[in-house]
Each structure stands twice: as structure tokens, then as C-alpha cells.
Symmetry: C2
Subunit: 114 residues, 2 copies
């Protein structure tokens, strides 16, 4: 669930959102967009969590890959629908990952936690 | 709940984590760290969501501010405790926010969603 990304540098798109009270059709489209993003050239990984606030961070090889995904036709339609019907508010931040490090507890096999 | 950050460039620390099944004392320390981070020079904002995966993105004026917070004494103790007792796994990514844009639905007053 934590994305396995290569050594920096690479890019992150930090998408934070607050949904409307009712967002019919959102879940299906979100699942489809995830599948399509994963098929894009330059896609490196994604991490997502949502409570009152939703945060999805997707990782990309470079800015060109992000731009292609932004302009992908199905994604464009989903973005339009998102503004019209799903999101009360969102923020997109494009950031260059310069450094990364991690920790894994030797007593906690990943299988216990997925 | 979506952080009000200045015009880029600024920095983001993307912290993604999977907690152990039991993490006694975690919530209190997390709340304290949030308070202390907000008091740090160069702190710009924070966004957090957690489900199976926890994602906290904090925003900072520059890398020096991030470094100072990493080395802050109480935070160092919390990091140590995190590795010993709370986290099964985590990843920290330091990224320079180059571009940001947002959307707010005119029909959705922020007060309805906070």
C-alpha cells in the first residue's frame, strides 16, 4: 500500500479534496481512473487515504507523464464531472521528490498489514 | 482542512505509514507533534487522512525548516518511539512544490464541509 518508487528524483501529484455530501458515481469513476493511470507511461505508483479529507498522491517519472495523464480523454471527462458533481473543493500540487527514505519494522512482516 | 499555502515554490513532506495493530500512546503523541510542528518557523500547513494507510502531508517554507523540525527534540523522541512501537512501515518523501491550483464549487460553502 506504500508505493514502491525508484530513487529520486521523480514527481508527485498531491491531490487533496473534500467531496460533496452526495457524489453519485464517484467510486466507480475513481476506480476506473486508478486503473487507467496505472496503464500510463511514466506512472510510478499511488497512495490514497480518505476520511473527512481525501488525499491521493500519485508518483510519476517526470512532468511530461503528468501532463499526458492530465489530458487523457477519459480523465478529462472525469475531471469535468468532478467539478460539476463530486467535489466541494480540491487542491492539486505538483512537486519534485528530491529525497526519500523509509522504515520497516523487522518484527512486522508486510503481509500482516495489507 | 485543505491547507492554505502560499504561491509555490515551497516544500512538502509526504509521510505515508502503516501502523502496527496496536499503537498505545500514538494518538496523544501525534496530536502533540501537530501542535509543535505548527509552532515551528517555516511551517506552512498540514493535511492528513488515514484509513488502512495513513498519509500526512506537511508544507514548509524551505528545506532548512524541514531539517529543524526533524531535529527538534520532542520530535526526535517521537520518531524513535514510532520506530520502536507504532509503525509497521513508513516512507518519507521530501518534495519541492513547483505548481499548485485548486477548485472550489461555488454552490458548496466551505462551512458545510468542515
Amino acid at each position: 500500500m506504500i508505493a514502491q518508487t525508484p530513487e529520486p528524483p521523480y514527481y508527485a501529484v498531491i491531490f487533496t479534496s473534500i467531496k460533496q455530501h452526495s457524489a453519485p458515481g464517484y467510486a466507480d469513476t475513481a476506480a476506473l481512473m486508478l486503473t487507467l493511470a496505472q496503464e500510463q507511461d511514466g506512472f510510478l505508483g499511488v497512495e490514497s487515504a480518505s476520511a473527512a479529507l481525501g488525499i491521493t498522491v500519485s508518483y510519476w517519472r517526470n512532468k511530461a507523464a503528468i501532463r499526458r495523464w492530465k489530458l487523457q480523454t477519459d480523465h478529462q471527462i472525469a475531471q469535468q464531472r468532478g467539478r460539476e458533481a463530486w467535489y466541494a473543493q480540491y487542491q492539486v500540487r505538483i512537486a519534485k521528490v528530491e529525497r526519500a527514505y523509509g522504515f520497516e519494522n523487522p518484527a512486522s512482516a508486510p503481509d500482516d498489514h495489507v
